[in-house]
């Protein structure tokens, strides 16, 4: 029983991370019908960026957090302007290759800047772990879960209640109608990219205390985040949250009870299963026929 609880706790923690990454995918897809293959690399930049700012440059944690997220959002801004906006033939295959290229490029940059070693950061708060029926629950885990849920609420409110958020949703449904009603479509796409990459950075910063970070952490995280987003239904914020938790727990249980070497294969297998059986996910994606 204690073992099971331990797996579930670590599963919830990882799941929360996947959920934040999945949020980034869903935000972008919901607003632009695009999927950014390089999203995992933005997570990596957020994580390593925080570590450099906080541990390397000794900037106070709170400021370092904000700087890291803003910095990554700026890179996201540049990425959209330089690599996405300038495309002469915005067909799916072209955009896929561009974002894959960006992913590789950012990984290369990451390797040059931070080297091949793994870096880590200490926990944000130094509280002792909580004991639940013999299983240990880290305070960091509770904090991460809290951040993720709060973030989901905030984004939900943004898209449903604020004018900008509603405009973004409208623009994604019909480009022409948006243009007719004066919504600046191009700014909406840019905003979506910035918001999505900023969310990725948030995922990166909250992951730093609980795992070793290196230049190549993005690929796997990005894929698992995407898997979570698909599981919950691409484009749905609550779906991203649910999908992330489900994947995290399943992965943890699988690694614990079956085999740890094949742990990553669980996510991929699940991804393939979703793609084949129910691409619209648990909560149903917003119209699938574009891609």
């Amino acid at each position: 029983m204690q073992e099971l609880l331990q797996y579930i706790f670590s599963g919830l923690t990882n799941g929360a991370i996947y959920a934040v990454i999945a949020l980034g995918f869903s935000i972008l897809y919901g607003a632009t019908r695009l999927i950014n293959f390089a999203h995992g690399e933005f997570v990596m930049l957020g994580a390593l960026g925080l570590i450099s700012l906080w541990q390397g440059l000794k900037i106070p944690l709170a400021i370092a957090l904000v700087l890291a997220v803003l910095g990554v959002a700026l890179i996201g801004f540049l990425f959209e302007r330089l690599a996405i906006r300038t495309v002469s033939r915005p067909e799916p295959i072209v955009l896929i290759i561009i974002t894959v290229g960006a992913s590789i490029f950012l990984r290369g940059v990451g390797m040059l800047v931070w080297g091949k070693d793994a870096h880590s950061a200490p926990a944000f708060f130094s509280f002792a772990p909580i004991d639940v029926m013999g299983a240990k629950l880290l305070v960091q885990s509770i904090w991460i879960l809290g951040v993720v849920v709060a973030l989901t609420f905030a984004l939900h409110a943004f898209f449903k209640k604020t004018l900008v958020g509603k405009a973004m949703t409208a623009a994604s449904i019909s480009k022409k109608a948006a243009w007719l009603t004066g919504i600046p479509y191009e700014w909406m796409i840019l905003l979506a990219f910035v918001l999505s990459t900023a969310t990725g950075a948030v995922a990166g910063v909250i992951i730093t205390p609980i795992t070793m970070c290196s230049y190549d952490m993005g690929t796997l995280l990005g894929l698992k985040g995407f898997c979570s987003a698909m599981l919950g239904g691409l484009g749905s914020l609550w779906g991203a949250l649910a999908g992330g938790i489900v994947l995290g727990v399943l992965e943890s249980l699988g690694a614990g009870f079956l085999s740890s070497g094949y742990k990553d294969a669980i996510a991929f297998g699940l991804l393939l299963a979703i793609l084949y059986i129910r691409p619209s996910g648990i909560f149903g994606a917003k119209d699938l026929h574009r891609f």
Partner: protein, 328 residues
């Protein structure tokens, strides 16, 4: 008038067919010449790798170019070809020639199993699906260490022999590989210039319209996918027996990305684009010795810049520029 037109059309079409035959003939000549002229074992090795990469890229080139399917996990088939033969020859003492059939057969089988559900997807979902599949196969290579040797790899793969003649030594292997390359080019070209090729080109032109004239687009996408897996496995087989040692690291996500980059840079839906792309990206690391550090940055930039500015690839892009300067 009608008879004249008929003869005229026939003449022009056979003429373009003749040009293509000439080009392949020229290539064969160049290959033979290079085989005689190049003395340096290192240079021959590089040429061998260009050949292997051309076979590898050709199928993917047709897949991406004609059917618009993107495969981010194609290294899996490359690996299946390599590992199947390696395991059979090292653990079960198969003769390499005998191991060729199951290597290719397994790749074809897996391609069918994976292809049928995956090719119903489109765009991003397909890309993610192939990526996931590629990663799963990579993990299997790494974890089945009893057979595959795990991360440390599998050594002692025997060379290809006919009687006493060792085909994997230096120049012999060069001729073997390039013989296979030429064979593959001829087969591909015959496919493209046939009813099958027209159907593929119609899918490339407008999938909608292709369906409307009765092309079973699903079936053709699957055929090209399987063909590309077959070629990738063939390349893997040659690679394994050439080097004598393989490890999962050669068949990871970056390997798949390299293959896609070769297709993209050379130009899709073009057998000569495949040759160009394979050549460029095999030579690139040779030219940039400090390359290892910058490999990812360079590949990433190539992918992005080519797709943004020259999406039709270097071959067609350069030809277009040449045409335009001639007409100007």
């Amino acid at each position: 008038m009608k008879a004249f037109t008929r003869n005229c059309s026939e003449k022009i079409m056979t003429q373009s067919s003749l040009h293509e035959t000439l080009r392949i003939g020229l290539l064969a000549g160049a290959v033979a010449a290079a085989g005689i002229l190049f003395d340096n074992a290192y240079h021959i090795q590089v040429l061998v790798f260009i050949g292997i990469n051309t076979i590898l890229t050709l199928g993917l080139n047709l897949l991406m170019g004609y059917t618009g399917q993107i495969s981010l996990g194609h290294a899996a088939f490359y690996g299946i070809g390599a590992y199947t033969s390696a395991i059979l020859t090292v653990h079960f003492q198969f003769s390499p020639w005998l191991a060729l059939v199951p290597s290719l057969g397994l790749a074809v089988l897996v391609a069918l199993i994976v292809g049928i559900p995956t090719l119903k997807l489109s765009g991003y979902y397909l890309a993610m699906g192939t990526l996931g599949f590629g990663m799963i196969v990579f993990i299997v290579f790494r974890e089945l260490d009893f057979w595959t040797g795990g991360s440390s790899g599998l050594a002692g793969i025997p060379s290809l022999k006919i009687g006493p003649v060792d085909l994997t030594s230096g120049r012999n292997f060069y001729y073997l590989v390039w013989g296979a390359v030429l064979g593959t080019l001829v087969v591909s070209r015959r496919l493209i210039e046939s009813r099958v090729g027209r159907a593929l080109r119609s899918i490339h032109g407008s999938e909608h319209a292709a369906m409307a004239i009765g092309v079973n687009t699903q079936a053709y996408k699957l055929q090209v996918f399987v063909f590309s897996a077959f070629l990738a496995a063939l390349a893997g087989f040659l690679y394994a027996h050439c080097i004598g040692f393989i490890s999962p690291g050669s068949f990871d996500f970056m390997a798949s990305v390299r293959m896609v980059t070769m297709v993209v840079i050379g130009g899709m839906a073009s057998i000569w684009g495949a040759l160009l792309g394979a050549s460029l990206l095999t030579l690139l690391p040779e030219w940039l010795h400090a390359f290892a550090e910058y490999e990812m940055i360079v590949y990433g930039l190539i992918l992005m810049l080519v797709m943004i500015f020259l999406p039709q690839g270097l071959l067609r892009g350069l030809l277009d520029i040449y045409e335009r300067s001639r007409n100007a």
